[in-house]
Amino acid sequence: MNPIFDDFREAYENGNGYLLSQTLSPIPPSSQPQRVYNFFRSTNFAAAQKDLKQKILPFKLDPDESKGWVDIYQAYWKAVGEVLNAENAQKGHTKAAWSKVYDAWKEVLNALIRGYTNCGFEAWTVPCLYVVGKYLRIFAIKADEGSGNSIGAVTSFQDDFNPEAEKNEKLEDAARQLNRIFQICLADRAEIGESRKWGIYNIINLLFKTYFKLNSISLSKNILKAIQAYRGDMPTLDKFPVGHQVTFKYYIGVIYFLDENYAESEKNLTEAWQLCHKDAVRNKELILTYLIPCHLLTTHTLPTLTLLSPYPRLQKLFLPLSRCIKKGDLAGFDAALVAGEDEFVKRRIYLTLERGRDIALRNLLRKVFIAGGFEEAKDAATPPVRRTRIPVAEFGAAISIGSKETMDNDEVECLLANMIYKNLMKGYIARERGIVVLSKGGAFPGTGV
């Protein structure tokens, strides 16, 4: 029991919230791999409260505060007991075991929240909320994923019956608990230097993570609304720890991305990208997963090989598509999209990447235009002018080459109309004469011809 309370003393003396929060981690620090186990073995159910009191009272804290910590460590002692138990659980019974862990861990959280609401815990201790919240989410996922029958299977058949509910029972509960933490941080009226508001973005990030996992991303909007409402008495985002900022901006970027607001998305993701720690490869990879499709749509640019070189996973994801877009290979693009569909859908970028087909088509049409060569020069002095009247049939032939299927003329015209409408190609279709009249000055904006 001693190592934990040594840290507790040190944290209290220095006001070190992160050190304090480590005493509540269910995972022992690598320097003391037996710490949690020893803590659990050092006392028993009957003696736990008395033993903990003996440890905490000598710190001469405020009586309420001491009581708060005794309750927290007592709940923690029970919870780590369940964790040790669950880690040794037999296959087929893991669900019940992890469910118990989750319930015990929720008690730790309840005791901690009471500490803030009733026992006057100070703001520097908020990292404890991060740690407890983080593991609440982890245990909930383990409980939901565990095998074996759950104890109280949902069999009711109500109006809004949700088949997902059973699958994510604990995680949904965890989302509610995290929301409570969010509220006690948000609603703290203490002066800003002493406010729990400094913990808010970490908790928001936890909530976002949970909502994404639950496929209920729309709930994130409620959080953003709440933040917006309190923005008057909140420090600006750039005053918060950089780690919190990066994760927050990443999630905001993804939320905008899913809303098809690519401009805002690009802005937030770029900021996250710039702030991200240079060695956080995994995080950078996640940011790029959304930033690359974003760029493809907003600026029609593709990722370079050097950008992708440190991320083999992204190479696999984006390279085949990029190659086809560059070549204007429509059939290849379709095939690559189908091949990567599962992965794209999982990362929610399928619907965005699909639109890259426009760029592939633009590149193909541009090739037709260039292959058309130049008008016969009237006299040698004027610079040569490209042929700008191109039969629809020529475009049709180009489109059909890859797929080896003849596309009917109306559909070709439809695709061309789309290009013109989206301003990827300048000109108009003269249907009667079956030709496309392209603009003399920049038929394909932004591509040099």
């Binding site: 009711s156 058949f157 109006d159 809004d160 019956f161 949700n162 088949p163 496929n215 991303i217 729309s218 899913l258 809303d259 098809e260 569909e341 859908v345 999982k346 929610r348 399928y350 619907l351 699909e354 639109r355 087909r357 426009d358 109306d410 559909e411 015209e413 439809c414 695709l415 061309l416 109309a417 789309n418 013109i420 409408y421 989206k422 108009y428 279709i429 003269a430 249907r431």
Partner: protein, 451 residues
């Protein structure tokens, strides 16, 4: 003296000899309206409670008329026949939709056929359906035939799609029903052959009476084909569904009820009801109780396209298996999605005309806004003009006049011009009118009862 006394007291004419009736007046129906509204006593449950026949008092003469018919052949009518005729004209059994003359004709026909066939005495007149019921039955049959004929005609009228594919919206299940077979409610209902089960009061639905609900449903299924009674069948299937919900029963029958209810809701454009059913069905399909999960998954996709719910669409894509993606209905819905994503209106409207099952009802909800999108596209890209026929074909209109009407609806009258006997659409001069209408149309997407 006597004479002076007598003049004011004219001797009344003997009763019956002159115009003035004596004592009391017999009311004259043709001129004097009755001083009260007759309210009939309900004698059966076969009529909706609030539906009274028109307020004209029926003089008690039907038996005389029937007797007239009888006099010609000098037959003494047996008691059951008289009762039958009497029952036919009982005010509670009158049908406001069946005119009296038609009823009498039918009655005459029935009785004379019976006489000719010599079954007047042997026929069970007590069980024979009343003439108004026969007429109603005949009408239904006729309506079915007429609808079929109309459908074929409209399919043939389409100039640009091959005639075999009409915009058919009925699910296979309904198509399987045989129009001419015995109505299902007759087979199990011994009381009155033509009583419509659909109109039974709600208390009759009971957990323990599944066979009855089953019949009820067949009736609903059947009547779902007739526009006129869709309302009653919707109510009926609704009640059925609600009862199931409160009974918490889950089996193949439950699935069927919700499927039919969802289809009717779709047909009536009631998205709220439809969504409730879809929610239930989604849960039921996970339990492998049968039904048509493919059909309804396809509807889900189309619905998300309608509400432009990208997140949900992505989730649906994530849930589909490779095998499911090959199913006709789902493949169609996915193709619709990709055609729209790529702005390929040409392909979209081809798909619209080939929608399987009842998906066209869902597609109808967003086809207008997609037409506007395609119109803005065409107006931007094609110069100086295109034939109206081109618009008709590209945007999946039934006829040139429909296309013209569409252009008119958005104040595009000036853009239509006759040239060398052909209508032409001046796409180059349309300016922003369709662009404005398009952004307006895309802004409002109904999200009530969102899944």
């Amino acid at each position: 003296m006597f004479t002076t006394m007598n003049t004011p007291w004219a001797v009344p004419p003997p009763p019956g000899t002159q115009g003035q009736p004596y004592g009391y007046q017999i009311p004259d129906m043709a001129t004097d309206p009755p001083a009260y509204h007759p309210v009939q006593v309900r004698q059966s449950f076969s009529q909706p409670a609030l539906h009274y026949p028109p307020m004209v008092q029926q003089p008690p003469q039907p038996t005389d008329q029937a007797a007239e018919a009888g006099e010609k052949k000098k037959i003494d009518w047996p008691v059951p026949v008289r009762n039958y005729v009497q029952r036919s004209f009982e005010p509670g059994r009158m049908d406001p939709d069946v005119p009296r003359a038609e009823m009498e004709a039918k009655l005459k026909e029935t009785i004379s056929t019976a006489t000719e066939k010599n079954v007047l005495y042997t026929l069970d007149w007590d069980k024979l359906p009343l003439p108004q019921e026969m007429i109603r039955h005949d009408r239904r049959k006729a309506a079915g035939v007429a609808q079929e004929a109309w459908r074929q005609q409209s399919a043939a009228g389409k100039s640009f799609v091959d005639t075999s594919t009409s915009k058919k919206r009925k699910s296979q299940e309904l198509v399987g029903d045989n129009e001419d077979s015995l109505p299902p409610w007759r087979a199990t209902n011994p009381r009155n052959g033509f009583e419509d089960r659909v109109t039974y009061p709600a208390e009759r639905f009971d957990k323990r009476q599944q066979p009855i609900q089953d019949d009820n449903l067949k009736g609903t299924k059947k009547s779902g084909r007739r526009k006129a009674t869709t309302l009653t069948s919707a109510i009926s299937s609704n009640l059925c569904a609600k009862t199931l919900q409160s009974n918490a029963s889950k089996n193949a029958f439950t699935v069927t009820v919700y499927e039919i209810h969802a289809r009717i809701a779709l047909e009536k454009g009631d998205l709220g009801e439809y969504n409730q059913c879809q929610t239930q069905l989604r849960a039921l399909y996970t339990q492998n109780l049968g039904g048509n999960p493919v059909e309804f998954k396809a509807y889900r996709i189309l619905y998300f396209i309608h509400t432009s719910n990208r997140t949900a669409l992505n989730d649906v894509l994530a849930d589909l298996t490779t095998a499911e993606k090959q199913e006709k209905a789902i493949k169609h819905a996915l193709d619709v999605r990709s055609a729209l994503a790529l702005g390929n209106y040409h392909r979209f409207f081809r798909l619209y005309l080939e929608t399987p099952n009842m998906g066209a009802y869902l597609m109808d909800m967003f086809v207008v806004r997609e037409r506007l999108a395609a119109m803005s596209n065409i107006c931007r890209a094609f110069k100086p003009d295109v034939p109206l026929r081109f618009v008709t074909e590209e945007l999946g209109f039934e006829s040139d006049s429909d296309a013209a009407q569409f252009i008119y609806d958005y104040n595009g009258q000036a853009l239509l011009e006759e040239k060398e006997g052909n209508m032409r659409f001046l796409s180059g001069k349309a300016g922003q009118i369709f662009e404005v209408a398009k952004s307006e149309a895309f802004r409002k997407v109904d999200i009530k009862g969102q899944i």
